[in-house]
Symmetry: C2
């Protein structure tokens, strides 16, 4: 019989890592959280080495995401997608910036081709990126997939600001740690 | 408090439209189901005018999907994504063609930039497309987003066969019906 229900979860430890009421002012504080999520996801064995977090215009945390592909048998469950979906479930808005003036996604590594495409529809105004796609592909066996040649320009053309290399070295350290320990990309 | 759960559903009517045990031999039978899903989704008021279905190597239906963006406040809930996720939940495989030799996705309209990217990771071998992106953008107000210049070639390069214009006119008729009736794209 057809399945008509999808149920995805984040690991329970996200509540400890990201308590209510904290303000994440500036790009680095936001990225620090995304990278910490990626590290913790490896150490807890709850998924791949990727983390993401979404913030509202007052620098308050709206949602977090970590990679859950293997534990949940779901190729869609990348960190950015989990962050988009949980933020939208919380706010009940399919465009997060409807009625908000600046929504930011911080992601520990450059979005793959799926998460890149999803970024156009989720309603974000700013995209903060830690490790580059080339870092992901040189430090791990994960594939980023094909993107438009001027992928950042396409985002900017639709009013999504892109800032790269935020704490890039820290983000790369987590990817390296993953490859050296648990390691095998799916 | 952070949300840590995502719950998405397909409308209950999918069980009537796609009963167990039917074999969908050939591209046209598969596309006919995808288009019928898109039409029914409009008429039932359960989402946007897009439908998708996934078949195993013996032409048996693995899953279906329809657009659920507005009713579920989720920008990820496109027809193709719903079909990927419900097929993966059913088979408990994050790559659908792991242990299968030919998995086919039929989608009533060309995948947008997000669903395009997701197609690389879901584990499909063949992609059947009804209406073209240009049809979607001329007949409705939906946006398809930016793709690599040779988007079909990128799929073929990763062993995903692409066949376009399958029942294109029928697929376009549903898009036209949508614009003339319920109509407004989100």
């Amino acid at each position: 019989m057809l399945y008509a229900q999808i149920h995805l979860t984040l690991p329970a430890w996200v509540h400890e890592l990201a308590p209510d009421g904290v303000v994440y002012a500036g790009d680095q504080a936001k990225m620090q959280l995304a990278i910490e999520l990626s590290r913790r996801n490896i150490d807890a064995g709850s998924g791949g080495p990727f983390g993401a977090a979404i913030f509202d215009s007052r620098d308050r945390l709206l949602s977090v995401g970590v990679n859950r592909v293997v534990p949940q048998s779901c190729s869609v469950a990348h960190a950015e997608m989990m962050a988009f979906m949980t933020a939208q479930a919380r706010t009940q808005r399919f465009r997060l910036n409807e009625g908000e003036d600046n929504v930011t996604l911080a992601t520990s590594s450059q979005p793959c081709c799926m998460c890149y495409g999803a970024s156009f529809w989720a309603g974000i105004d700013t995209l903060l990126i830690g490790a580059r796609a080339e870092d992901v592909m040189s430090l791990t066996e994960f594939d980023e997939g094909p993107l438009p040649t001027d992928w950042a320009g396409e985002l900017e053309a639709r009013s999504i600001r892109v800032r790269r290399d935020i704490l890039r070295e820290s983000a790369c350290a987590v990817l390296r740690h993953y490859s050296e320990s648990a390691g095998a990309a799916y």
